[in-house]
């Protein structure tokens, strides 16, 4: 070990420097996305853009109208996301399924697996959680626990199948998960056309309402217990990854499956376990969608689009959170805030929904390309290179 000098011993200062770089790149990405979003807003608004014809003769008109447009939109975004206790509650409600599904993608990613199937796993979570919610009568608390457990189980089975196929047959998990998403969606649509799931007296593919006993209890506005379940799930994933033997195997297989096998860990077994746990987490996201309170205080009945695009948004959440539980919670809250704030942008500032989606896409784009961010933000570059030098000396 004496001549092992490949990497310097990690120090607290070095740790802080790396952390600072990660956080500042992410923060810069958000700011850059907001700047590009502002430019798009100005260009896309014919009235504001027309004023730029007078940029040199009447700069006040052009800049004033541009500022008014952008500041109205972004203050609405801020107001809707964090402007009041109710707004914060809305942010947490939108964040809860994103955090769970983000953990599902992030955990798999740590084992070197691309779980594109959080969507299908969440769909199964929502199907089973909703079914137990509306078809079964149980006392409060127990009903909720059984419904959540059913959703988690549904996701775990759907994810576990992928892990099993990968481990036993070598089928690539990306292809399998994408296809399983279609199958889950198709099965949901079919189930909603059967008497088992269809609401009595209606022909539309919509389920009955979930019994109040199975709903996550509401704390304030849309803030419900499910959000804390999501936080607990993040804590559990942290413990699993950083403190447990399985977590060590997951990380080892993710880093180098061959080396892990050589040291006696079963890559196949780890793959199955990882995909099952990831599926369970995505299933929990589906249960959040099916049992979480909407603005009316009751959960939304099961429909084909109930989970929305949570499984795909989860990929961006995991990416933004760098597949770390704390990062995923933060990223989930950010996207939850964008969802809640995006609504306020629409209703107060009349900014189209597409812009919020554009902002999300830009943030991810900038995060995925840290080099681009440090080129665009020179201060960051100077700072990071100095940090690198300092780190080298330490």
């Amino acid at each position: 070990m004496t001549n092992h000098t490949v990497s310097p011993r990690p120090t607290f200062a070095g740790y802080l420097a790396t952390r600072w770089r990660d956080w500042s790149v992410t923060a810069s990405a958000v700011v850059l996305a907001l700047v590009v979003g502002a430019v798009v807003m100005i260009v896309a608004d014919a009235e504001v853009a027309a004023n730029f014809a007078y940029l040199f003769t009447a700069p006040g008109l052009a800049l004033g109208s541009a500022w008014a447009k952008v500041s109205t939109a972004y203050s609405a975004l801020l107001l809707g996301a964090v402007g009041s206790p109710l707004a914060l509650a809305q942010t947490t409600a939108a964040a809860a399924p994103l955090i769970c599904a983000g953990l599902a993608v992030g955990l798999a990613f740590r084992a070197g697996l691309f779980n594109i199937g959080a969507q299908g796993q969440a769909i199964w979570g929502s199907i089973l959680a909703a079914y137990v919610g509306f078809a079964v009568q149980l006392p409060p608390v127990i009903h909720l626990i059984v419904a959540v457990a059913a959703g988690v189980l549904g996701g775990a089975v759907w994810g576990g199948i992928v892990g099993w196929l990968k481990a036993k047959t070598g089928a690539h998990e990306v292809i399998v998960t994408i296809m399983m998403n279609y199958v889950a969606n198709g099965l949901l649509a079919w189930l909603l056309s059967t008497a088992l799931f269809m609401r009595p007296g209606r022909q539309d593919p919509i389920s009955p309402e979930v019994h109040p006993t199975a709903a996550f209890p509401v704390i304030l506005g849309q803030l419900h217990v499910g959000f804390f379940v999501a936080l607990a799930a993040a804590g559990a994933v942290w413990w699993l990854l950083d403190r447990s033997t399985i977590g060590f195997a997951i990380r080892a297989v993710g880093a180098n499956p061959n080396a892990a096998s050589t040291s006696g860990m079963s890559a196949a077994r780890t793959t199955i376990i990882t995909m099952t746990i990831a599926g369970a987490l995505a299933g929990l996201a589906g249960a959040q969608s099916a049992l979480g309170a909407s603005a009316t205080g009751t959960p939304v009945p099961l429909t084909v689009g109930l989970v929305g695009t949570v499984g795909f948004d989860a990929i961006t959440v995991a990416l933004l959170g760098r597949s770390k539980p704390l990062g995923i919670v933060m990223a989930g809250l950010l996207f939850g805030g964008l969802s809640a704030g995006g609504l306020a942008m629409q209703s107060i500032a009349q900014t189209p929904l597409t812009l919020t989606m554009l902002l999300q896409a830009l943030i991810v784009l900038f995060v995925a390309a840290p080099q681009l961010v440090s080129t665009l933000v020179p201060i960051l570059k100077a700072r990071t290179s100095r940090v690198a030098v300092a780190g080298g000396q330490a």
Binding site: N51, F52, A53, Y54, L55, F56, T57, A58, L61, Q90, P97, N185, G186, L188, A189, W190, S193, G201, Q203, D204, P205, I206, E209, Q222, S289, G292, S294, A295, T296, T298, V300, P301, T303, V304, G305, L306, V307, G308, T309, V310, S339, L343, A344, Q346, S347, I348, Q350, P352, L353, M357
Partner: protein
Amino acid sequence: MKKSLIAPPMFGAFALALGGCATPPAATTAAPAASTSTVPVSDFKACMVSDAGGFDDKSFNETSYAGLTKAKTELGVQSAEVQSKNDADYARNVQAMVDAKCNIIVTVGFKLGDATQAAAKKNPEIKFAIVDYAYDKPQANLKGLVFNTSEPSFLAGYLAASLTKTGKVGTFGGMNIPTVTSFMDGYARGVAQYNTAKGKSVAVLGWSSAKKDGSFVAAGPEGFGDVAGGKKLAAGLMAQGADVLLPVAGPSGEGALQAAQASGGKVASMWVDTDGCVSASKYCAVIPSSVGKAMDVAVFEAIKAAKDGTFNNDVFVGTLANSGAYLAPFNQWDSKVSAETKAELEKIKADIIAGTIKTTA
């Protein structure tokens, strides 16, 4: 050589400078809304919440939104709208419109049924209307707007049967939901009517009234936004011999129009919701007619009634009788539809209105 390289950027810079140097119009004309508009500006605020399809779905959200736009220009009302991304967001989005102090809130699609009813109960002073949904016992401030599209589809089926040369007509849907299948079923029954009246045996591909099932682009809402998928289904129907199609799939239906256009006159494709010769005018030559569903008119009328204080909770049912559902003009096909067929269609329309012909099971 050098000059030609420099010229374009220089020209660009010049144009930019010229653009930036324009003089703004005088302050008096800077606010044209007040001077040019003949409609008095009203404080009345009409609002709309889309379903996850969005207002640009070229289908029922977009057509309903046209009703709001019309109310804005013709009645001078204020407006606001929210597009939904997820089904889980509906209640929250309707609440946002309540918070925006709207006087009437129009929601689009059956998926918003629960959220709209809950909001109507909570806010009795606000009027609510919902497209493609109706309640058995609505609150006084809640109006359902539904459309009996099987009636004009019945006429479309009869027309298709009269036009086919192969003896086979086809249809497909975007997704298996009642608001889609009512078109397909009406169409098939119209063909059956033709067969009975004329002693023919024109076959319908893509829908079976007996089985209540047929061809759909997809299992979920994505079936409405998949032009390639629509084209594939249309090509499949054409390969089986169908030469008159009725796509009931929103934007996906454009695939059928493309396939019909590529057939070089062998195949025709109808259109739904709006007159295809207006909304998809470049395909007008292959569109014999369209099955209209006047969601824009119904939305406009609901907003107007709310503004005028004549709003009620009676369910609006668009039918051939009130033109809320209609068979669009034949446009370029006018000469290809025989006078005999035209007369028969008029007769059937009168019979449907009178109730002597049933267009549903």
